[in-house]
Every structure is written in C-alpha cells, then in structure tokens.
Symmetry: C2
Subunit: 220 residues, 2 copies
Amino acid sequence: MMKQERAARTRQLLIRSAAETFERQGFTRATLADISSSAGVSTGALHFHFANKDALASTVEATAATTLRRAAHGVRQPGANALQRLTGASHALADRLRHDVVARAGFRLSCGDGPHRPGLDLRGEWFECIRHLLTEADHEHLLAEGVSRQDVAAAIAAATTGFEVLGRTDPNWLSPASLSSFWHLILPRLATAEALAALDLPTGDPLARPRAVEIWERKN
Amino acid sequence: MMKQERAARTRQLLIRSAAETFERQGFTRATLADISSSAGVSTGALHFHFANKDALASTVEATAATTLRRAAHGVRQPGANALQRLTGASHALADRLRHDVVARAGFRLSCGDGPHRPGLDLRGEWFECIRHLLTEADHEHLLAEGVSRQDVAAAIAAATTGFEVLGRTDPNWLSPASLSSFWHLILPRLATAEALAALDLPTGDPLARPRAVEIWERKN
C-alpha cells in the first residue's frame, strides 16, 4: 500500500472508531486513547491526523453531513412528485442512521445535546427539507384542503426526531416498516386522494418493529 | 425557622440546583461545587443530604417521577373517555416538562442518554400509558375501523418523544398550541366521528409556536 493510501485508510479508521466511541461512551467520557486503540493505531498516528477530540468530532459531523445529504438528494429522481420525494428522503435518512455509525454519531453531535459545540445543524437541515418539499407538494396540488402545512411540517419534524432519538437504543424504530407505518397513518390527512393513490411506500420487513411496539402487540 | 424545616428547605434547593446544573452543563460536567454554590449552601451541607452526584441525580429522577405521574393521573377525571384522558395526559406532561426544571431534568436522566445509570424509565412509563389508554379507547368503541392501534401508539410515542427532545432547546414545542396542532392532525385518523366531536382540546396561545415553525410561516 502506498504511504498516502495508508494514511487515508488510517484516517477513515479513526473517524469510524471515534464515532463508535462517542456513541458508546458519550463525547465527554471518550478519550483519545480509547479511540486510537479501538482503531488499532498509536496515539501518535491519531495526533498526526487530528489535533484534538473536537477536531475528530467535527470530522465525524462533516462526514455524516456528506452521507446524509447525499442520501436525501439521491431520492430526487426526475418525475417523482414532492410527497414521493419527502417519504423517500425520510426512508433514506433513516436507513443511513440505522446502518452507518458515523452518520448516527455525527447527526447526534450536530444536535448539540452534549458539550461538543456543533459546527452544523443536521436536524435543522432536515426540517428545512420537510418544509421545502411540503411547499413543493402544495404547488403540485398534492395537499388536501383544510390542513395547515405548518402543522403537518411540525408533526413530521417531531415524529422523525422521535424515530432518530428512539433509534439510538432500538434501531428498529428506524426500520422501513416503522417509518411506513407512520406515513400510512398520517398521509391520508395531508394528501389528496389522487396523490395518495400514486404514492409508492416501501413496506420493509414487518418483523423489524421496535421492541416497545412488539411488546404492545404481545400484550393485546 | 425550625431546624427540620430548614433542612427540608435546603434539600429542595439542592434538588432544584442539581436539575438546573444538569440541564445547563450535562450530568458529566456538573460538579458538586457548582450545585452547592448555585443553591447558596456549603458543600458540607450538600454532603449532609447527598452522598454523591449519582444520589442527587436519582433524587431528581424520583422527584420528576412523582410530579409527572401526578400530572398524568390528575386528568383521569371520572366521566372523561379514554381519548380525552390520553390527550389530557399529553398536555399535562408537556406542561410540567415545559415549566418545571426538575421534571425536565429528571425525565432526561431517566432516558439514560448520558452516563448516569437511570433507576427509572419515565419515557417507557409514558409509552405504557399511551398503550393502556388506546386499549381502553378501543373497548369504549372510540377508535376508527381499519387503523392499527400499534401503529397509532408508535406514532404518538415517536411524536411526543420529539416534542420532549425539541422542547429542551425551544420550550414552545411543548406549548398547548403545539400539542393541540398535532392532535388535531392525527385524531381524525384514529377516532370515530362521534368520539372526535365529543373531544375537548385546549387551544392555548397561538403565538406560543416553536421558533422553527414560526420561521416556516414567515418564509411562505
């Protein structure tokens, strides 16, 4: 392996290890020694790439931003209407948060829950995306009469925030089945009958339900 | 003031100061020195009441549990149907989370986001309350046909989790206006027409909207 390739690979290993360590221990408790040893590199090698823990956190955030923006934009196929793109973007983001630890840790860091001062606001970007696509849906005459677009945007923002937060401890909150259940419930309130009939929602594995929901099912 | 009264008052001051400090700085960064000085008492007085930071956190959690359980049960007026009690409980809990820093900090500690090992699971208790009241609503024939009760419970759980998390930085996510908008949107999907007509939802101050929603309104 060329020296440059090896350096790039070490950097990737450190970013992933940092994300895993932040998720497991929280930003404050994570140490550079934990991060370098989990990555299988020396602390010297870590310091060659990153000045300190904040620099690592900012890189995790920036990497998550690239992944999540690409996921959300990837579903903007030509021809798909705005509601199709909105539901598609929510599924694409949930998929990345569920399967990619760097996306998950970076999103969380950017929310500023902890002591790391985030450079980005990925939750705010997602809310802006919801607002934008609902405005487009309105222009495309896809929205039902008599429902406030702001109320719809706020409900989608709140519920998807819940999926993200609950998905940190039970990834099935972010499963296609979980998201589609939400959309099946709410879409008839916000879309016209024609728009609703034209929508294509992924069903996903019906067994990939959050544990809390499984327990409710067993109890009844 | 009697010695006993003074001790009880100091204890209350310390619980409130701990809650404020945990909310401001996070559990890990909060120090006992910060907590005692904000409460205006000596560290010696703090140690008389609480062995360590974990003991303080557990007391904040337990105090929050008492407040929130009382709020949720307070709306169980005889005669009110199960959907009325469900929406009422959500408003009562949101009101406490919005206005009572001990309830807010204790709820958050009990969610186990941080390094404090929670003794309670207040979010889990709320989800159980949702499930229970939807089961009662079903027995009372208040639920619309063809909608899965589990999907409804999951959507309410996710959205209210979002309100709580977003309310940490913008309390207006927990305002009566914000909650009622959500219920007005979702109830027609889950309640029969008769049940819907009988419901009484607080409207609240329409100006107490989350900042993100206000910005959306100005942009359109």
